[in-house]
Symmetry: none
Subunit: 417 residues, 2 copies
């Protein structure tokens, strides 16, 4: 099965928005054995939309359009498709009801443009949107399926998962792919590849697919089989091999964020956590709180960004701060230990570092970060050297801090390099 | 001048790499008045490359191909272009010399594949790459310029800046697109469109382009002219009209995040800020800290997620907490005021709400959020009703809180609905 993508919107062409939708669709479709042959980005103009469909329907069995379905005047896709497929718009009561509920829930007034979002082409199959007000549409053009979806990423993804993939699975015999993911933190893609080179040769020789899926601070290792569940046990035991080999980095077999994993671990051990943050500025707390139900194990945090707050809120020793600096082993240990007391928690993790772009010295260049974990029995501190990008330093520090907490709680020795 | 982009590479089609090159080129070209009409992503196959050039040279005066110029076997672009333009490859001594220096500097061995990177089509203008080993190529196909560049982002950008833009400026009088952006917070795309409908008709009648660029919590309004700087004043004053009309929502004329704007405002007023967060779990702090140099106005935060921490760290009154609940006007006012004292800051913003998915009641459904801003003179509190998505509630609350601080500091009245 061959697919073509059409992303609609001037904001994409002029680079104001980066096209993450095409990447997500490419990943999800090719993973399901649907080959994405070509991807176009075009402007929101009827002639562009229709000529793209004309051209690509010669090449693809499935065309997915994203964007151009919002309520405002510059979103023309729906009208263009209605004309193209020689049908007409008609208010769909079920959709109108859902839009009304959507606005009522949010106590926001519903406008005429929103009512018009319930007007959909008669000849299409409606793809319901449970995350927003613009429905998706499924048309048939000869042998080719033409699907139009809103451009807002989480709405597009929701409709793909809720409505499109189940229908595609029903209509076509897509290859029966089984896969499992191993989550790793703190090891780069190339370094990971080097460490598991032999294992990789082995699994490839068995005909399994292996993919490295990197995102900042995290690399997912995905092992897949085209023989479906029949290879489930073998795939799981192959990944478990790697997990056993690198316990400091591999934290979970199966897709799971580090904050979710840590949450489960804290719940299981009956521990409460707090954070004391300097360079991460609350980012660890935020990642923990993103998990629903985190109030069962997360108590609170102190972000002590300035020297003054470190003394005032945490009673970090003035002399130590002045002589060793905030980015030092002595201070980070005090931050974690005092934080544990002040917050009254079982585990406290603290961060202090130079996120950049300024503030670095020869001795402590940008990217130098101290992290400490204090528990009832022990305080563990370690220094890291990250890069020179502020945003990535903050994020990487937060992930590394959470992974350190995990290692401490799981009794994994994490001796200094 | 019309441009078309061709991004080459399977890693883009299968979504392993997000196409940031197309976004960068779109931004840089349209900024220079070159209109990007269409952008294709294709796989690294000769037939795909030649048919893309055939098709797009009918539509564009300038085609820029990126990718497919590395030394590895799957990079076929150079050979394909050599055949397509009926020329032949020839080692260019100057380029070979630079490649040799490149490897010598890095003390890495130079391989035969690298020598071959100095072999370039005779009929092209060579675009030198001072950041890597793969040169760019400039061909002429009738009236259309066809440029091929490596896909590594910093190499591609380097060649564009060093070699392509100077040549384009020399050869063409480029039309001059001018645009300006108005940043708004807390007003949905549809509601904004309805509020400015008359204004929108007016600006469209004048021939200006208008785009709504929504992202969670923020809508950018972009107004553009194809007559360049000549319309600068008019565009700015048209956007200023809207800014004056909705001071609670429109926070800045020109592209700028809310945290950056707030940072400048705090610096300008010589004020220090702190945050006291419950439902946002440190997210406001994190957004403030993302801005380099935020230590000049950001002091620290307390994340008091549990009832206990609210009492312990902020001395919120036990009785008030028990009778009114944490999500109440009485508690949020105490949080902001006590936070201001404890942190020792000029301005303190506090949040407390039910982020969801659980924890809602009939009286306080999921999405109910109290926000308060305390300054030396006043404390202002307001309740909001957001949606049912936890992550978005947290993010929207953080943006709304920052916007409330802005309104308070700018003396914009924000009376209760």
């Amino acid at each position: 099965m061959k697919a073509a993508l059409i992303s609609i919107g001037d904001e994409l062409l002029i680079g104001q928005t980066i096209n993450t939708n095409a990447a997500w669709l490419g990943k999800e479709l090719s993973f399901r054995g649907i080959s994405v042959e070509i991807s176009w980005t075009i402007s929101d103009q009827p002639a562009e939309i229709t000529s793209a469909i004309d051209f690509l329907s010669e090449k693809a069995d499935l065309i997915i359009l994203t964007g151009g379905l919002g309520p405002t005047k510059d979103d023309l896709t729906k009208h263009t498709l209605t004309q193209y497929f020689q049908t007409e718009l008609e208010i769909v009561p079920e959709v109108l009801g859902r839009i009304e509920t959507f606005f009522a829930k949010r106590k926001r007034p519903m406008l005429e443009v929103n009512v018009q979002q319930a007007a959909l082409p008669k000849s299409c199959t409606i793809l319901h949107n449970y995350h927003g007000t613009a429905c998706g549409m499924w048309f048939q053009k000869g042998e080719t399926i033409v699907i139009s979806l809103p451009g807002v990423p989480y709405e597009m993804k929701g409709i793909m998962n809720d409505e499109v993939f189940p229908r595609l699975n029903q209509r076509f015999t897509l290859p029966n792919i089984y896969y499992e993911t191993l989550m790793t933190q703190g090891i780069g893609e190339s370094f990971l590849a080097e460490q598991i080179a032999e294992w990789e040769d082995k699994v490839r020789a068995k005909g399994f697919g292996l993919a490295y899926l990197p995102s900042p601070g995290i690399v997912k290792l995905r092992l897949s089989s085209k023989r479906g569940d029949r290879d489930k046990e073998e795939i799981q035991s192959l990944l478990q091999e790697i997990k056993d080999q690198m316990p400091k980095h591999a934290y979970h077999l199966g897709e799971m964020t580090l904050s979710e994993y840590l949450g489960k671990l804290l719940l299981h051990q009956g521990l409460k956590i707090g954070t004391v943050e300097s360079c991460t500025g609350g980012h660890i707390a935020e990642l923990l709180v993103q998990i629903p139900g985190s109030s069962r194990y997360y108590e609170g945090s102190i972000v002590a960004y300035s020297y003054e707050e470190k003394e005032k809120l945490l009673e970090v020793d003035h002399h130590t701060l002045q002589t060793k600096g905030a980015v030092s082993e002595e201070v980070i240990v005090q931050m974690a230990e005092k934080g544990r007391e002040v917050l009254g928690v079982d585990v406290c993790v603290a961060t202090s570092g130079i996120a950049g772009p300024d503030g670095g010295t020869d001795e402590k260049p940008v990217g130098t970060v101290w992290i400490a974990v204090a528990t009832e029995n022990t305080t563990f501190a370690r220094v890291f050297q990250f890069g020179d990008n502020r945003e990535r330093n903050i994020h990487t520090t937060a992930l590394t801090a959470m992974n350190l907490v995990r290692c401490v709680l799981e009794g994994i020795s994490f001796e200094k390099k």
